[in-house]
């Protein structure tokens, strides 16, 4: 089973690379628009050797982790607050619903004006992009708690607060986990978007800089690195979650998207 789990994705990626290589070899694609896999590998090793790749990757990683952490730190208490307090819900729901409809990229100009083109603006975009999956996932999980489990708490004589902590929040975890995974993915996408527009470091910057220099091989290398880090961070998140909450493993499998 575990061999198959590694073998199948590896075969898929190898096949895509093979088709890509063949397409270049047969002259179906323009080597400038789509450099051969070997050229991209060369670019990757060149970037690695010079330390440029590591520098940009670390900058991007730091931004994503910080922005993601900020989102989670904001979303969790707010989700609990809005699930438990009717007045808060009445006041904040329309505002958040409005904000949710606005794509974060549309707010970039405003964020640049308000926060400049430094780190704060990038964090702002990541938070805007990654806040809602966590927030809505956790809220959905809280409101979807099985009332039959709450009755078990009532029979045990638990106070309202204890029911929240010992029944409602744990049972919201599966949906929170799905939210966290989506949110982490959104963080990456938003970051690269932000770095493409205004930045002097980071993987997004590396890509746009390479485009300006007509280095399609570096553009592709950057895309590969972003995808690989995205896959890896999702994998690490899943491993961490299944360590901490072993009972969630089944839900996690269902949430693989």
């Amino acid at each position: 089973m575990s061999v198959r789990r590694i073998l199948v994705p590896t075969t898929v990626f190898a096949s895509v690379a093979a088709i890509w290589w063949l397409a270049g070899r047969a002259g179906w694609t323009n080597a400038y628009l789509l450099p051969a896999p070997s050229a991209v590998v060369d670019a990757l090793s060149e970037l690695t050797a010079s330390g440029i790749l590591l520098k940009h990757t670390l900058v991007s990683l730091q931004r994503v982790l910080l922005g993601f952490a900020l989102s989670v730190a904001l979303a969790l208490p707010l989700a609990v607050l809005m699930s438990t307090s009717r007045p808060c819900r009445a006041v904040l729901d329309p505002l958040l619903e409005f904000l949710r409809q606005v794509p974060p990229l549309a707010l970039i100009p405003l964020l640049i004006l308000w926060l400049g083109i430094g780190e704060a603006q990038k964090l702002g975009i990541i938070v805007l992009a990654s806040f809602f999956p966590v927030f809505l996932g956790f809220r959905g999980g809280i409101s979807g708690v099985d009332p039959k489990l709450i009755e078990v708490g009532r029979i045990a004589g638990l106070a309202r607060r204890e029911i929240l902590w010992r029944i409602v929040l744990p049972s919201a975890l599966p949906e929170l986990v799905v939210g966290l995974r989506i949110s982490l993915g959104y963080s990456w996408r938003a970051l690269v978007g932000a770095e493409l527009i205004a930045s002097s470091a980071g993987l997004g910057y590396m890509i746009i800089d390479a485009e300006n220099l007509a280095r399609t091989d570096i553009v592709l290398a950057g895309i590969l690195v972003i995808g690989a880090i995205g896959l890896l961070s999702d994998l690490l998140l899943r491993i961490a979650i299944s360590r901490v909450f072993p009972w969630l493993s089944a839900d996690l499998e269902a949430a693989r998207a």
């Binding site: 039959k148 078990v152 029979i155 045990a156 004589g157 744990p170 049972s171 072993p246 009972w247 089944a250």
Partner: protein
Amino acid sequence: MLELSDVSRHYQVAGRTLSAVDGVTEHFPAGSITTIVGRSGCGKTTLLRLLAGLTEPSSGEVRRDPSDQVGVVFQEARLMPWLDVADNVAFPLIGRLDRGEVAARVEEALMLVGLAETRRALPVQLSGGMAQRVAIARALAQQPDILLLDEPFSALDAFTRRKLQRTLVDIWQARRRTVVLVTHDVEEAVLLGERVIEMETGRVVGRVAIDLPFPREATDPAVVDHRRNILARLVGGTDPLP
């Protein structure tokens, strides 16, 4: 003290009023074991929920000593999926008793339902019958003054059911707490009840004192007689037994 005084519970369904429980007055003496029997939908589960305080009566009064602790075993196991077997059993005790006492009660309750070996399993790894036994252990570990059971054994195989019926009687005989058990199985009602309450369409239609010593055997002629008589009344005079 556990009493129902002219208790009714109505539900509005599509503009019509349905009475799940209709004017029931009943006294459950302290330390007694009572079974409530009737067809599905006769209102016996609602009656149990009223006794547990989970459903408010539409009219009438449910009287229970506020200091009495209530334990409930539901039709479904209702385990917390994130807690293992031992932690599920400990769930109502956490924060109420010190750690040593909790562990001792959990061990004892798991032994009683025969699940001491599976204490670290997660609910998702349990069969339906095992999960139900955990739910029974959870209620027993509370050592409640009033134990309410809603078809607790219907998900179990015949052997386990028989064994747990015995365990329930043993515990009741040892502790003499008030027990009310709802079932659609007339044989079970006769085997377990000092008194059997017959219900139909939300009303109590009969009360039978079963004056037989415990433990009772399903093959005992007196048990068979009671069973036949109750069945005959509940199915409207036709005797389905040979």
